[in-house]
Symmetry: C3
Subunit: 276 residues, 3 copies
């Protein structure tokens, strides 16, 4: 729909950067606040500053007058997840400090999703990798284009699951499917992710944007307080558990980042990538 | 099967009303106690007195000599859920008292399902709406005709989930599918409900009654104590949690019933209905 | 692959019995420790001594240098579960003592799966019955041949679920599908078990061994510590609950074994079997 297309290039009113140059674009209309990854040349990989901007955007969306908040990506990717240069731009004598700070930021970032008080929807326009996949267990609806894929290659990188996926994925799909993703790094198609409950519904790429936004605009007209209260009622059943899981995952991951196994895996990955 | 057909018009022995005129018909044979919604002219909508009769029927079935208890509906609908005239037949100066009493009754009603000690089966003969859908998360088997549908339009009516669905549905189908039903009011076909784990198996309408009752009669011949003990073992893992969820849902819903949002939504609904 | 085929007839180095005559064969290569049920003439039914050998094998695999541990069966069956002669070879005046010891052994056996610290995979080569099915809820990946089936006929034998299935199965597949298996004894095909999340993936029998072992060898090359740490992170979310469920299930089952209902069911079963 034209109103959506145009909003994708308009900056948020409060944003003082040059129009369209922001890595995260926040817009709000038709009762929907949209938070868009906008770093298409880097497959929407998430930098340290983008983590902070998203936390800020979620806090703002909590209290704005929208009914629903939606995450999506600009370009071919939904998001390739954590930008690995977050790890490599570190001087050797500050590694421990950097790992500690990254762990604290990750925990705050995931907490912002756990505590978000309104229905949260993901519109997955393309491949999703890592943290943006694990977070889906905290969303209330996930709509995917049939060209989307879902990949969490933690072990390959010497790391471990985050985003509460160590708890939400086994709950959603059972341990036998969750572990193949989270431990062995199996990549899922959109159809597989839907069959396993991670995705609400899959649409053909050709009609994806039109069908999803039409549906979301209808949903956003439902009584706002009921939407919020039902969402909070569902979340209240496990909010405490989710915070505990998040804390534990971030502690474990901080240890992983400092391990030789992880450093070697990251160096191998970067080295392979630079040769392409 | 003929024995089942005939039981559908026979009153329970203890029932003193005119045969066939009861809104809830309870019969027992072949080791199966059947509790049937019998208000087909009103789509088996549940009145305040029917809630009480069902609580009574469940208490009685707990200690009768049947192995299994089955819920089903007479006519085209399984049940359209709560009869909304339960809300409209209220004088304005007793609204708070009525909401409080309705909340207490709902909590007692759902508790009767949580605490039921024998295998509990739903035979879904047609559309199911609201409370009769949310309760399915507390059943041990759910067989559906392919003309059944599953609909929980809580937000549209300014309300919020009950029957422990805010806990059981995300557990059964994952949050991304559960929220679309419970928050956004998506109606599911029988096939969709089966794929998402809410329904055990779907049968063609033409053979539905025959196949399901044949299977249930076989199941009812299994060692009775093992059936009961296995059911209680499974339930014991979350009985305390279910009671807490039920209490919280009823408290939240009582608040919803007194909200302007809910009253407006109900008035709009009634007004649209009366114009049909 | 030929290396796997040959390992199936080679005894573990430490084993002093005649080569190939052991009921449990443990081998380790390519980063994979394989524990194989090897009693094909008895459908790999598990005797009391086999329970003890498996506990021992799991303890050893916990600390060997393998990355992954795999269970599979030799011959047509994965395993027919508990060998019922464990019950019948008991003198009448020691029934209570035998039931108590069996309950203690079962609890220790299941605890060994709950506490196992590395990714645990089942390669289901054929029919699986009883305890080897319920345990699958504790595995990290379950690959099945399309000729595998999954059957837990507890009620028919006057018994009740074990292996934490009273907790894991409703969590994996929802109560409406779990109870049909655990309470009513419905047998599932491999495809059904996969659709319900108990099985990770189903393969045609003709390519099953080749495809699965190729995949597992790839997985076993992933960073070993990450595999272990991710597995333990996932398990830590419910380890305490699983131990409590196991204890309760074993207590309930001990009571069942001493019940008239169970003894009659076992006598009927043995009598039918001896007439075949």
């Amino acid at each position: 729909p034209s109103s959506e297309s145009s909003s994708q290039v308009k900056p948020a009113a409060a944003n003082e950067k040059q129009p369209g140059s922001e890595n995260i674009i926040v817009t709000s209309q038709d009762g929907i606040t949209k938070i868009m990854f906008n770093r298409p040349s880097k497959k929407n990989a998430i930098t340290t500053s983008m983590y902070k901007e998203i936390i800020h955007a979620l806090k703002a969306a909590s209290t704005d007058n929208s009914a629903i908040t939606v995450f999506t990506g600009n370009g071919d990717y939904y998001s390739s997840g954590n930008d690995l240069t977050n790890f490599t731009d570190v001087s050797p004598n500050s590694i421990e400090e950097t790992a500690k700070n990254a762990s604290i930021l990750l925990r705050e970032f995931v907490d912002a999703f756990i505590d978000f008080p309104k229905p949260l929807v993901a519109v997955i326009n393309g491949p999703a990798v890592g943290i943006v996949v694990t977070l889906l267990g905290l969303f209330d609806a996930v709509y995917a284009s049939d060209k989307a894929t879902f990949h969490t290659p933690f072990s390959e990188l010497g790391q471990s699951p985050e985003g509460c996926a160590s708890y939400t994925f086994p709950k959603i799909m059972g341990p036998a499917k969750a572990a193949e993703m989270l431990i062995f790094g199996k990549k899922l198609t959109a159809g597989e992710a839907c069959a396993q409950g991670l995705v609400t519904e899959v649409f053909p790429e050709s009609t994806f944007q039109k069908e999803v936004w039409t549906r979301l605009k209808t949903y956003a007209k439902l009584p706002t307080n009921s939407l919020r209260i039902s969402k909070e009622l569902i979340r209240s059943n496990e909010k405490e558990k989710l915070h505990a899981v998040n804390a534990e995952e971030c502690t474990v991951l901080q240890g992983r980042w400092l391990s030789e196994e992880c450093m070697n895996a990251l160096m191998n990955f970067m080295s392979r990538k630079s040769k392409l």
